[in-house]
Symmetry: C2
Subunit: 329 residues, 2 copies
Amino acid sequence: MLRYNEAEAIAKDIGALACRSKIEEIVDGICKEGYDNIFFIGVGGTLAYAWTMENIVKPASSIKIYVEHAADFNTLGNKNFGKNSIVIVESASGDTKEVVESVEKCHKVGAKVIGIIDKLGTPLAGSVDYLINSTGGGLYKWYAIMLRFMFNNGEFPAYDLFWSQMSNMPAALVEVVKKADEPAAEFAKKYCDEPFQYLIGAGNTWGVAYSYAMCLMEEMLWMKTKSITAGDWFHGCLEVCDRDTSVIVFCGEDGARVETDRVLAFAPRITRKLTVFDTADYELPVNKEFRGLVSPMVMWAVCNRLTAHLEDELKHPSEIRRYYRQLKY
Amino acid sequence: MLRYNEAEAIAKDIGALACRSKIEEIVDGICKEGYDNIFFIGVGGTLAYAWTMENIVKPASSIKIYVEHAADFNTLGNKNFGKNSIVIVESASGDTKEVVESVEKCHKVGAKVIGIIDKLGTPLAGSVDYLINSTGGGLYKWYAIMLRFMFNNGEFPAYDLFWSQMSNMPAALVEVVKKADEPAAEFAKKYCDEPFQYLIGAGNTWGVAYSYAMCLMEEMLWMKTKSITAGDWFHGCLEVCDRDTSVIVFCGEDGARVETDRVLAFAPRITRKLTVFDTADYELPVNKEFRGLVSPMVMWAVCNRLTAHLEDELKHPSEIRRYYRQLKY
């Protein structure tokens, strides 16, 4: 398969899964000491990961969580933040400028920071209070953290069953990738040159749609996009769609499924260029009741193929940046 | 001035300001009884108003607020919602489908709903527990509600001074509209035919940017847009901008000002089509420390002129809808 190293993908996921015992130790310790609330602080793709988690935690947990853009947290702040807040940050590079500043601000107040940091020897790897380190597989680590907080809060009793099934997820996601290859290739061939792409998600696939549009299509592939929630698409954005507008819907299986279904029921009336990626199309090694929970992981596996084929069709290597980390700003 | 009725604009604002005494009575009663948290539930433009309020309340108040898209609230829900939650909804039409459903859901749980509803004799005007009714001037009513909650929480001691100055705001906003007319006309003439508009906001102008892009440019003018926070523009979105990309920055004067300033410092290096609308350009009848707080009102007054001139240049009457409330979906 184009630009896919199966062994490497599995190794990354297994590495991420292996972080769980350390994560449990960290979270159990925090819960024993007590905390007021949890702040997810991120930028771009990590902000979108935080939204994914928010959409998982919010319907099922009374834990007070706050999602903050690091730049907003640094400038505006949040009056509910304090020394008994727990902060979670993620940074693959380990040196995201705004996040480095946020962690400094947290430490001034006395709050503790859990960091999902891929690169050791970086400012963030050195400054967070609890370091979670492996390469890739970010969502496994987010899930391990938040589901443990929920379990300790009496809210996710299926914890052990869920994780016993998750050990089969790395291999299952390889199969997702393989099955998604053809539809992704077809999308890329048909629509890579569209002047504009609309990406729609809902619930825990909203973060995937936002991040895929911005971090992959815009940043890495220089494609113009707008991401929009299924709920809000009906409140303005639909009006600019006509028969030649490319609309991509990311359908997951959580409680917000009915919202993307509403788009699927209407969009074919107004565009000929509708593409649907649906996590329900893929076999997974987990119980039915967990499928919604893991939908973001499945969707990201599908996105892996989209990027590979778009890159190829556009003849635009995804490593190129015009400005990002190339210039001072 | 094109499509502007000064007397009507002032009358709407004065009507909205006049709601304050009723609002104080409502909020004082709620505070006396006690409440757990406040839910802003909306869709599209009213969701964006809620974000505006969130960015005002969050840095300055320990009140627990939650902003929910009505469709998400109806499907996913929020575990922190309960009978002691106070809900705020807004609907000009009074019959927004998802919001009607949300209010029913709230009542089933026993929570009380404050409704900013412009049209009497509508489902929402009939179903909310506390009705705030006048035509237009939505933000005055939002401010009256939330600043009273904050005042009662010991967080906005300048309450009386602020409102004494706000009585001069309707006339001042007319002057803003007049002064903004020329730059808005210039923007419309130059850029109405651009294939794509980027709208950037930060802090309490983010909601304005989001809503102006979607509810006005997309829904009413059929222009293609992407709205993005100043903070996140630097994390992907900037990469698709080149010298021919129209970028509009909404600069307010709250704590997030430094975030839009960062865009202004960099964007001229990569685009020739940068337009800045800045609330600091306008005289206001309020103390310096209140300017940031009222920035969204000022920006919406500027937007009034943008719409008038875009409508005229595009020869696209803003009342036309293709699908919105024309078709079933």
